[in-house]
């Protein structure tokens, strides 16, 4: 019998105790009936949806999944890990699917070593009541090997390299890894100089923290691969900030002085090299000039000597006369005094006559005074 027929049967031969209430009660019965039917379908749909939801599952591209059948991971060696795609499993409670974001890089930040971190969680003191001290309840910080105090904010980036170990070894991965990160920071800070940690060797300091946490995670077989430990912030406490800034200033000053000195050194050295090269070059020139001049003289001498050997007088006289001709031809002032064997003549020469001298301003430019005999004048007497 179909449902509409049933409905008709209900509606048709039903007894009618009260004719006035009959339509109302019929409507009520029909409404209840409809409600129950709808509820039945809804329950069925929900059950089906639940079964489908737990039987078919999609693993997105950044995840992998483990399927546990009665608590045990299913699949042989290389099929234990379900890669991204569509997968099937038996409905709960037979199978249970555990999803792990294995391809993602996860980040854990630690502000354990920041000032006022606990205060933010509890009652933060107002700024005007900021203490000159650091309270262990309120402020976090790192102690360095030389007993200095530093604040720092760190980040640990990791990937899940072995999902089974990751899932089945740690109950609270984030908490445990944050603990490991803090531990590595404390352990490495405890052996570092404040200057190295804060300024001069931050990279080595960071690297040691990274190495330590890597080693610990490997030993504990946590199934994570530490990608990197990052220093997000490193700062001295605000109470001593000025003193640290003074150090930086002094260091800058030192660098400036040294670089100025290096510049000076480079300049001085280059100048010296230049000067040295010039000195050597001058010596080379001297040598070459001397040798070539002497060799030319020698060659000239040899030539003249041949002629001289044949005709000494003619050769010497010709050379002398030729030289005088050339020399005296270009000389401006030439005086030739007639000399006889018994003549005595006096010749006055004005030395330093400065023919081309330009008169100084205010200088007497009148007629030249009569020449007087002074020490500047020389007397040449020709016999």
């Amino acid at each position: 019998m179909t449902q509409p027929e049933q409905q008709q049967q209900h509606a048709g031969p039903a007894p009618r105790p009260n004719a006035g209430q009959e339509p109302a009660s019929r409507a009520l019965v029909r409404a209840f009936d409809l409600g129950f039917r709808l509820l039945r379908w809804l329950v069925l749909a929900l059950v089906l949806a639940f079964l489908a939801r737990s039987a078919i599952f999609v693993v997105p591209q950044h995840e992998i999944a483990l399927v546990l059948r009665f608590g045990r991971v299913t699949g042989s060696a290389d099929q234990r890990i379900r890669k991204p795609g569509l997968h099937f499993a038996c409905p709960y409670p037979v199978d249970r699917v555990i999803r792990v974001a294995a391809e993602r890089v996860h980040t854990i930040e630690s502000d354990t070593f920041m000032a006022g971190t606990r205060a933010a969680k509890t009652a933060a003191p107002p700024p005007w009541r900021r203490s000159a001290m650091l309270s262990p309840d309120r402020d976090g910080y790192m102690m360095t090997g030389d007993a200095n105090i530093l604040h720092g904010k760190w980040a640990l980036r990791y990937r899940i390299a072995e999902p089974e170990r990751f899932v089945f070894n740690m109950a609270q991965a984030d908490r445990l890894l944050r603990g490991e990160l803090d531990h590595a920071i404390v352990a490495v800070s405890a052996q570092s100089h404040v200057d190295q940690a804060l300024r001069t060797d931050v990279e080595a300091y960071r690297g040691r923290v990274q190495d330590l946490i890597r080693q610990r995670c490997r030993n504990l077989q946590l199934g994570v691969q530490i990608e990197r430990v990052d220093v997000l912030l490193l700062a001295p406490p605000r109470q001593v900030k000025d003193a640290f800034e003074q150090v930086m200033k002094a260091e800058n000053q030192r660098s400036e002085e040294i670089s100025a000195a290096r510049t000076y050194a480079a300049r001085v050295e280059n100048e010296a090299r230049g000067k040295a090269a010039r000195i050597r070059a001058e010596a080379d020139v001297y040598k070459q000039r001397l040798v070539s001049s002497i060799s030319a003289d020698a060659a000239y001498f040899n030539k003249v000597y041949e002629k001289f050997a044949a005709q000494p007088l003619i050769t010497t006289q010709t050379l002398l006369q030729d030289t005088l001709r050339r020399v005296l031809a270009r000389v401006e002032d030439k005086y030739i005094l007639r000399t006889t064997p018994d003549s005595r003549q006096e010749l006055r020469i004005l030395l330093n006559r400065e023919k081309d001298r330009r008169p100084e301003p205010g200088e007497n430019t009148g007629p030249m005074p009569e020449p007087k005999r002074s020490s500047d004048e020389a007397l040449f007497e020709f016999p």
Binding site: M143, V186, Q191, A261, Y335
Partner: protein
């Protein structure tokens, strides 16, 4: 009767589910289940994953424990070191349920276990740190530092007791925080300021010193370069002079002629345009001006 059938079926289904839940239980990987019969735990826990059967309540009851590593952070409180310094330190540890039956009997829950373990950590932390000076905890000299050793000592002390008392395996332990009491930090800041001042001064004086050294070194190198250059110039000149001297032998053939030629050269080089030359008529060829005839007429 026919209409009651679905309701009956539903009731049966619910009863079956309830019964299945009561008699079957699943042991997951990395967990352990202890079954108690009338409150008495079984001799050993079930740690192998799979589906198991038990009598329904109240006959048997299954207690499930997570056997993965749990994390516990100890309290952050003051401790005295061997050399009488007060520090504040926190240790954290990773532990797991190792003997589930004992764990169920002694502590029962994770929260209770953590409370008990915290007490253990406190005791051994104070004990171990109290047997080391502060220089073993923080020191720039890594040879003198005993940080890892202190942690291992604490771990070694806690491990057997945690196992014996609570059925818990302590997997690892680490110091997560080291600090100082609030009142001491001010003194530390004062010392840090002094240290910074010293460092600043050192940098300044180092800068001046290094700059002076660099300048002095540069000056020295420059002087050396010049001195070397002078020396080699002198050698070059000497070479030149020596090479020139080889030619002097040529002039030995007739020194008078050589000197004569040299004099001519000097004459040529020294008498320039602005020179004033006074000559007597006895100087050749100006002797011609005296009317001297070089040659006597052959016929008079």
């Amino acid at each position: 009767m026919k209409r009651k059938l679905p309701i009956l079926l539903l009731a049966l289904l619910i009863a079956a589910v309830f019964l299945v839940q009561q008699i079957f239980f699943i042991v997951h990987t990395a967990s352990a289940v202890v079954v108690t019969t009338f409150g008495k735990p079984a001799d050993a826990a079930i740690t192998e994953p799979g589906l198991y059967l038990k009598w329904p309540r109240p006959v048997q009851k299954a207690y499930r424990f997570d056997t993965r590593i749990q994390c516990l952070e100890g309290s952050y409180e003051q401790t005295l070191t061997k050399d009488g310094k007060t520090i504040v330190a926190t240790a954290y540890l990773g532990w797991r349920v190792d003997e589930p039956v004992k764990f169920l009997e002694r502590v029962g829950t994770v929260a209770e276990a953590e409370r008990s373990l915290e007490g253990l950590v406190r005791n051994y932390k104070n004990g171990v740190i109290g047997s080391h000076p502060l220089s073993h905890l923080i020191n720039v000299d890594t040879k003198a530092l005993r940080f890892a050793q202190i942690e291992s000592e604490m771990l070694a002390a806690i491990q057997p007791e945690a196992r014996a008392r609570y059925g818990v395996e302590v997997v690892m332990l680490g110091i997560r925080k080291i600090g100082l009491p609030e009142t001491i930090t001010e003194a530390v800041f004062q010392r840090m300021r002094e240290e910074r001042r010293t460092v600043s001064e050192r940098y300044r004086s180092e800068g001046a010193k290094e700059a002076a050294l660099i300048r002095a070194d540069a000056d020295k190198r420059a002087r050396t370069l010049l001195a070397d250059a002078e020396a080699s110039a002198k050698r070059i000149r000497a070479d030149g002079d020596a090479a020139a001297a080889e030619y002097y032998a040529t002039f030995e053939k007739n020194p008078e002629l050589a000197m004569f030629l040299r004099k001519l050269e000097v004459l040529e080089q020294t008498l320039k345009k602005k020179a004033t030359v006074v000559l007597g008529t006895d100087t050749e060829p100006y002797d011609l001006l005296r009317g001297a005839a070089p040659f006597a007429p052959e016929k008079k």
